[in-house]
Symmetry: C2
Subunit: 149 residues, 2 copies
């Protein structure tokens, strides 16, 4: 079983790029996020661990991590791009609560199949898709109903 680190190292080797100590730390940190994260959060987490890595270096690592398949762009929350660790994880889509920011992940086989069908109908060859539903989570919807009383 190949690890995420190995996958990234392999990717860099093929591209004739270097597996630097900074990149090792960035990968390690990104893997430590179980949910979504953005660049600032990676920067902060590294800093708290005593590893000061420049924001520029993190920003420069992002496209490599995307291309290597370790992470994917998830959602744009408050104008920040948010990513998620997708190594060895099943694809899923998102419900995003516009009030509290909570993200609920879901996977629906039927929706996936129907998307493939739509692509076939348009002779379109899909690479990736993103389905995001914005709305109110259970708790926030209750609160809104209370406020209106």
């Amino acid at each position: 079983m190949i690890t995420a680190e190995q996958k990234f190292e392999e990717f860099l080797k093929i591209k004739e790029l270097k597996y630097t100590s900074e990149r090792k730390l960035i990968v390690k940190t990104i893997l430590s996020f179980h949910k979504h994260f953005n660049v600032e959060e990676v920067f902060e987490k590294l800093r708290k661990q005593g590893n000061h890595i420049s924001r520029a270096t993190i920003y420069r690592a992002i496209p490599l991590l995307l291309k290597s398949g370790l992470i994917s762009e998830a959602l744009r929350c408050q104008d920040k791009i948010s990513y998620e660790n997708i190594f060895n994880k099943k694809h899923h889509d998102h419900l995003l609560c516009v009030k509290c920011g909570k993200i609920i992940e879901f996977y629906n086989e039927k929706i996936e199949k129907l998307q493939e069908e739509v692509c076939r109908q348009h002779n379109f060859v899909p690479i990736e898709h993103r389905l995001g539903i914005k709305g109110y989570c259970e708790d926030c919807y209750k609160k809104i109903k209370e406020e209106k009383k």
Copy 2:
């Protein structure tokens, strides 16, 4: 039959906001776009018509146009937020060709229904959703296959 202008005027009235000459021009310009547009394009089109309206005014009109249901946020192309005129138009989703940038619109009733079902399962109250599939359109895929030969 209510027009887009009337709908916007009504919306502003309810909110006790003013239907200024600038807002009239902005609505008119936005309706003249048949495809997607961004703030800069609205600004430029107005300028070319001899109407100099401040970018700030256009930016300030956007949330009102969104809330009134005249436009919706579409896709993010090259970091600019892109909008589309949705007045009296049926909701649809997008296939985006990553090579030529072509956008194919589609609507699939079954996918819509399944999304509603997913929301119910999570006690989630949807406001809006966005489904974007990135890939290669028919022409571009043919070109890629040719290049590989």
